[in-house]
């Protein structure tokens, strides 16, 4: 308690810092998109065997699973979130250069570990910088803005990479990725370090005299555990959807599949860009729960539509639902964590914990859906995913409390 963040010394971040954060998130999303599924395409073109590619992808997945919590703890311990983010961005840029210049086993393995480790730091660091800049009172709209710029960046990068890869080479994608390092760092440098309050950024003062009191309180916090479980369920249902549908599209339509899949990737990003600031504002008015239910409720509906769609073209429209889910979760996941971790000083560790749950759900999802799809057909797979998604929705309904701090008294501690 006694964490005084009252109206008298409410943070007043400069426009320059806020714009810096906007564009930092935008360019970072560009950079990160390069390390998605495209890695497999690139390494294939670089004459890698499928076994080696599979190994690299597994290592990357493993690092980003086990790295989340240490990454969060690191950001909590850091005195300057900005510098932590800058180092992580440089690591990603170096990894991209390594991918482009030396597509041999050892360098690529090293670069993959480096970039996924850096991502484990960056995800919480963005949340921390945001919270450090604007404080708890204004964090909702800020996270809405973050989600908008992240999805604009991803959509822009996916389109750009598609064009670059098509007209030039898959290697040029990584060169462009490495070049994007420059605007990313420039944007980051626009954020004034003095305006990012480390105490605010960690959601309070970390570990007072009884060491790790906050850690224990956080680990045993029922809302946080419930929230992590909800997100794991969401990703368990969600992560396999597009890859599975993409494969079906490729099978059903020869010439339009690529365009349709591209549209399926880009449409949700546009929806998120349009919706998320609104989500950020409404989260303060309506509370978190209605919007969480909206995001979690859109997923089972989408699963059902995927299962029964007569025409893959329609899937592009169904992806609007994906955008709704992504907008709601993109804003509310960090927001609810900020609510829960308030005054523990462990905001970023909590982000890492939920991030781990998300990663576990996502990594099981693809193998689970692939297995069901092989043995019982893709429709059964989508129906199974719908069942998991429905369970996730019900779990939110039953287990998640409203975490919005009572508005009337402004920002008081619990």
């Amino acid at each position: 308690m006694l964490f005084m963040e009252t109206k008298t010394n409410a943070p007043r971040p400069s426009r320059r810092s806020l714009a810096g954060l906007d564009w930092f998130i935008f360019f970072l999303a560009d950079v990160q998109t390069g390390f998605g599924p495209f890695v497999a395409v690139y390494l294939t073109a670089a004459r890698w065997t499928q076994q080696d590619i599979g190994f690299i992808l597994s290592v990357t997945g493993l690092v980003s699973l086990i790295g989340r919590m240490p990454g969060g703890a690191l950001v909590d311990a850091a005195r300057s979130e900005r510098n932590a983010a800058a180092i992580a961005v440089v690591c990603i840029g170096l990894s991209a250069l390594t991918f482009a210049a030396l597509p041999a086993f050892a360098p690529v393995l090293l670069a993959s570990v480096l970039s996924s480790g850096a991502n484990c730091v960056l995800a919480p660091a963005i949340g921390a910088i945001s919270l450090g800049l604007v404080g708890h009172a204004m964090i909702g709209p800020r996270l809405g803005r973050n989600a908008r710029f992240a999805s604009l960046g991803t959509g822009f990068a996916a389109a750009g990479m598609g064009i670059t890869g098509y007209f030039f080479s898959s290697r040029s994608v990584f060169i462009v990725t490495a070049l994007l390092l420059v605007p990313t760092l420039i944007a980051l440098s626009q954020i004034r370090a003095t305006e990012v309050d480390p105490v605010r950024a960690h959601a309070g003062v970390a570990s007072p005299d009884p060491p790790d009191h906050g850690l224990l309180r956080l680990a045993l916090n029922p809302p946080l555990l419930a929230f992590a479980a909800c997100n794991a369920l969401f990703q368990l249902a969600n992560a396999a959807m597009l890859p599975l549908m993409g494969s079906i599209m490729t099978m059903r339509s020869a010439n339009w599949a690529t365009v349709l899949i591209a549209a399926c990737i880009i449409v949700p990003q546009l929806v998120v860009a349009a919706l998320s600031p609104w989500v950020g504002r409404q989260a303060d008015r309506w509370g978190r729960r209605p919007l969480l239910l909206l995001g979690f409720g859109a997923l089972p509906l989408r699963c059902l539509l995927f299962a029964y769609t007569p025409d893959p073209t329609l899937v592009v429209f169904f992806q609007i639902l994906d955008g709704i889910s992504a907008a709601a979760l993109g804003v509310l996941v960090p927001l609810v964590i900020a609510d829960i971790a308030r005054d523990t000083g462990r905001f970023n560790l909590a982000q890492g914990a939920v991030g781990t749950a998300v990663g576990v759900g996502a990594s099981i999802s693809t193998s689970f859906a692939g297995y069901v799809s092989d043995h019982s057909g893709s429709q059964t797979a989508f129906l199974d995913l719908a069942a998991v998604a429905t369970f996730g929705f019900l779990f939110v309904l039953v287990a998640m409390p409203e975490t919005r701090p009572r508005q009337s008294t402004g920002s008081e501690s619990a």
Partner: protein, 202 residues
Amino acid sequence: MFHVAGSGERAILSSAKTSAAALVFSLAIAMAGADPSAVAQTATSQTPTQQTPTQQAPTQTAKPAAVQPAAPPRDATPAQVLDDKDVETVLGREIYSIAGEDMGRIVDILVDHKGNVRAAIIDFGGFLGVGSRKIAVDWRAIQFNPDRAILSLTRDQVRVAPEYKDGEPIVVLGPESPPAAKPPHTQQTQQNAKPAATAPTK
């Protein structure tokens, strides 16, 4: 990395049957520094047999490195030189249909127990790695032209094929020849290959 032995080199090589000794000798020079007599002694002491070359050794001390290239493995490994315009790597190769449509890339090759190449796995379709499918196509359906590899199947034929997965029966999209065209039941590695030359058990 191949050691290519041209005729001239081979001559050197055989005359340097003593190459092991020569190598020891040159190392000794390197270690002993400038004193030629010490070198000669070390060399002779280590190779007590018919080492006539060592007698001339001191005169060569100025360029000991010249001895080293003549020290490859004793009997030359059979090797041949191929023009890199005549052969090419297939992994990661882009492949096209006859009509020039993009058919993806070759990501793996399947061979039978005799080493005959049976099928290529192509990674087909998708966008940025999402939604691509791995399909096995008969090796004989691929034609390797100097500028591009051409698959004699259409996109519509390839897209509906079952996906290639480890440990499952492999459906190989074939050229028209019947044996490879419809093998969904079993995988028959043996029967259809090319019994003409070897005529195995039957």
